[in-house]
Amino acid sequence: MAEVTKRILEAVGLNPARFRIDWASAAEAPRFVQIVTDFTEAIKKIGPLGEPEGLDKETLKLRLAAARELCTKNRFRAAYGNLARAIKKEGDYSPESIARKVEEKLVPLIKKELLEAEIKALLAKGPVSIETLLSKTGASQEEVTAVLEGLSKRGQVVREGDLWQPKTS
């Protein structure tokens, strides 16, 4: 869960250190205090949400909205659940192997879905050129093109000249 969440934050463009998971047992009040204090300090150093990451409010909101949607999608959830199941079955909980599996099975999906959602949101505001999409999303030409083609195959967007826009029925 932690690994996946961190990768989602990365995909959004946020510093994954904004999310931390730690443990303290019921008997470990001092340790608990340490955890909370350290984490608060760490976030203070990182700074307000989005600011040090260079994300403007609008983009941030847009991408987080996309991430939110991603988290409820069956495709993502099934992949996530299956991964957790596989890890449990193999019994290999080493951080490296979990990270590797997440990288392999989930990250491409996360990236693609997020990009698609963001592009859709951008298009929803009116026709946009590929260049604008590239600069707004920070993704590569290939990635953006792949998403656009996918969307157009499913008949959700159309191209008019240099501009893309959602297909109105």
Binding site: M1, I21, F32, A42
Partner: protein
């Protein structure tokens, strides 16, 4: 004015939430920036909760098991 981060914490009822209670009982002091959601276990935490927390503006999210 110094930046006071807004942190959302998810604490496990049996572990961190209990530790947080004991910290209170012992009168330890810590920064007041976090707000707590109690869950029965960290297993309950769905990535969407974390994303949602950032969506509504959290500067940081702490999960305590």
């Amino acid at each position: 004015m110094a930046f006071e981060p807004k942190i959302l914490s998810f604490f496990c009822h049996w572990c961190c939430y209990a530790a947080a209670d004991s910290a209170g009982v012992a009168r330890y002091q810590y920064p007041p920036n976090n707000r707590v959601v109690r869950v029965m276990c960290t297993g309950r935490i769905d990535p969407r909760f974390i994303v949602e927390a950032f969506y509504v503006g959290a500067d940081g999210v702490l999960v305590g098991g």
